[in-house]
């Protein structure tokens, strides 16, 4: 690479700053505004220096007392869906990585095709069935739905990671009399741990943030946080922006920290799941 001229360097830095502003500003704005006193929220120009207050968080607690129950629902659904999805994908990924026959290839191809289907269409046949079985508004329904829609990508990620584990390790263990569950538990799981994280990231983010299924299939008991935020947004008396920002901040903080912490798995997972066959 030739050394770049100072002008090009400055231009590049300006573009980077602009890109960070574009991505980060809306998020920062919501977080900061959640700490502003009510009358300053719509101040123009927006005030940069203000005395932070927790009044909106307190009011969130008072006006939407169920909000923290909904957070708990989101947590249960997210953990449940990722465990279910990762468990199923690890088993399937192992099989697809190690065994090959025509039927397995057909079922693997079927998985890829199903990734193309728009999720909203399954709500139509499921809605009557779910009501008849009385499992609407339950955690288990959301868990199964979220896991199902990410099992294909996760299986692909697990397959890619397991293919990199040398077969010799398993064969040696088999000679020593290890059973399949032992091989999976003691060799595959620890060595594919990165793959498991990479697969989990996507379903965790999806389950924590999902809106359409939650809107259609939950009413009260299993309602998740994004749905409550949408209700705060559309209250008829006009939007109470302070409470809305507080709720959005509480919802986004944990998942944002999570995504930043695992960002390198996001990159490897995406490459393994969509770019490779």
């Amino acid at each position: 690479m030739p050394p770049s001229r100072p002008a090009a360097r400055i231009g590049r830095l300006a573009l980077v700053a602009l890109a960070m502003l574009w991505s980060g500003f809306p998020i920062l704005l919501v977080v900061l505004s959640s700490l502003k006193p009510g009358r300053e929220i719509f101040a123009t120009p927006p005030s940069l220096f203000f005395t932070p207050t927790l009044e909106h968080y307190v009011r969130l607690w008072q006006v939407w007392p169920d909000f923290f129950l909904n957070m708990r629902n989101s947590l249960i659904v997210t953990i449940g869906a990722s465990l279910l999805c990762v468990a199923c994908s690890t088993l399937a990924g192992y099989v697809y990585a190690r065994f090959h026959d025509r039927w397995l290839t057909v079922s693997a191809f079927g998985m890829i095709v199903m990734r193309m289907l728009p999720p909203i269409i399954v709500t139509l046949p499921l809605f009557p069935v779910v009501n008849a079985l009385r499992i609407n508004d339950t955690h288990i329904l959301l868990i199964a739905l979220y896991a199902a829609f990410f099992v294909s990508l996760s299986t692909w990620i697990m397959k890619a990671f397991i293919e990199k584990i040398p077969r010799e390790l398993e064969e040696a263990a088999r000679v020593d009399g290890a059973t399949l569950p032992q091989i999976l538990g003691r060799i595959i799981l620890p060595l594919a741990a990165n793959g498991i994280l990479a697969a989990a990231v996507f379903v965790v983010v999806f389950a924590w943030n999902e809106y359409v299924f939650a809107l259609i299939f939950t009413t009260r008991a299993a309602k998740t946080t994004p749905l409550v935020i949408s209700e705060i947004l559309s209250t008829v008396e006009g939007v109470d922006w302070g409470i809305l920002f507080a709720a959005a901040t509480v919802q986004l903080a944990p998942i944002l920290i999570f995504v930043i912490a695992v960002q390198r798995y996001l990159i490897t997972g995406l490459a393994a799941g969509s770019l490779k066959g």
Binding site: P2, L117, L124, F127, V212
Partner: protein, 281 residues
């Protein structure tokens, strides 16, 4: 051992997807027994002005989002592949929108674009440029929907393209530079050719996901005013869960399904060839 994964897929995706085709042939108001009507639902939606408006709105928004995102994502990927101080932190910030729920994304952009008082509209008004009136003007509303979809999903496109750009061997670019290629020629004849497969895959996945757009529209305008900003998913949702017409909604669902599969066809064809390899295809 593939059974648990396949059972999930069959029970929650394939089974329902096939059943939708069957429901689409019935006249079925939810709560009453269904009645077989053949293709009447398809005839009904194809004759419905609202369906075609939803179709064209989806078409315009999807294309705006996909191409906007590819351009922005490619620009970011090329930018970040160069020397950037604090690269890890910058990438974290660029990925941040991926962690945000579409509901909060709507909250953020709506706040900035609130009529008269939102900071963007306030700034536009004080510059004498008028304002983005998404609550009354359908074109403005779809523009905001596209803008916020791009903001929300560009991390995905950026990541795929960034992964591709960083695998370009440096020697190739250097060799081209030595042979006298300008940076534009280097981009057009070397880099772009090498990342084309990733670009096409990102494009395919984004087309399929972008055409499902629901939350952004539903939370911003509910498809209004006067159903002018509906997209296909909102049209489907309104038919099923507001009017309880599951037959017509299913016909819309089948239309979305067919469009998705058509878009995915080249990718699926390629995967099929690669997976079945030497076996008879």
């Amino acid at each position: 051992m593939v059974a648990p994964a396949q059972v999930l897929l069959l029970a929650f995706i394939l089974g329902p997807a096939l059943y939708v085709v069957w429901i689409s042939l019935q006249s079925w108001t939810y709560g009453r027994p269904p009645r077989f009507v053949g293709i009447a639902n398809y005839a009904a939606i194809l004759g419905d002005v609202a369906f075609w408006r939803a179709f064209w709105n989806t078409f315009v928004v999807t294309n705006a989002v996909v191409y906007g995102e590819l351009l922005l994502g490619l620009g970011l990927a090329l930018l970040m592949a160069g020397p950037v101080p604090g690269k890890r932190i910058v990438i974290s910030i660029l990925l941040a929108p991926y962690a945000i729920t579409e509901v909060s994304a709507v909250v953020m952009w709506r706040f900035m674009l609130e009529p008269d008082v939102g900071m963007v509209n306030y700034a536009l008004l004080s510059l004498g440029l008028g304002q983005i009136d998404w609550s009354a003007d359908p074109v403005d509303a779809l523009f905001v929907v596209s803008l916020l979809s791009i903001w929300h999903h560009v991390p995905f496109t950026f990541l795929i393209l960034y992964a591709a750009v960083t695998t370009i061997p440096n020697e190739l670019v250097e060799a081209a530079t030595i042979d006298g290629a300008s940076s534009w020629q280097n981009f057009w004849y070397v880099k772009l050719r090498l990342i084309l497969p990733a670009l096409l895959i990102a494009m395919m996945f984004r087309y399929i996901v972008a055409m499902r757009v629901f939350g952004e529209v539903w939370l911003l305008t509910e498809g209004g005013p006067a159903r002018l900003t509906e997209v296909l998913a909102v049209y489907l949702y309104r038919q099923a869960f507001k009017y309880h017409e599951f037959g017509a909604a299913s016909a819309t669902g089948v239309a979305m399904l067919v469009i998705s599969l058509l878009i995915a066809l080249p990718y699926l064809h390629q995967m099929h060839r690669r997976m079945f390899g030497h076996a008879a295809v």
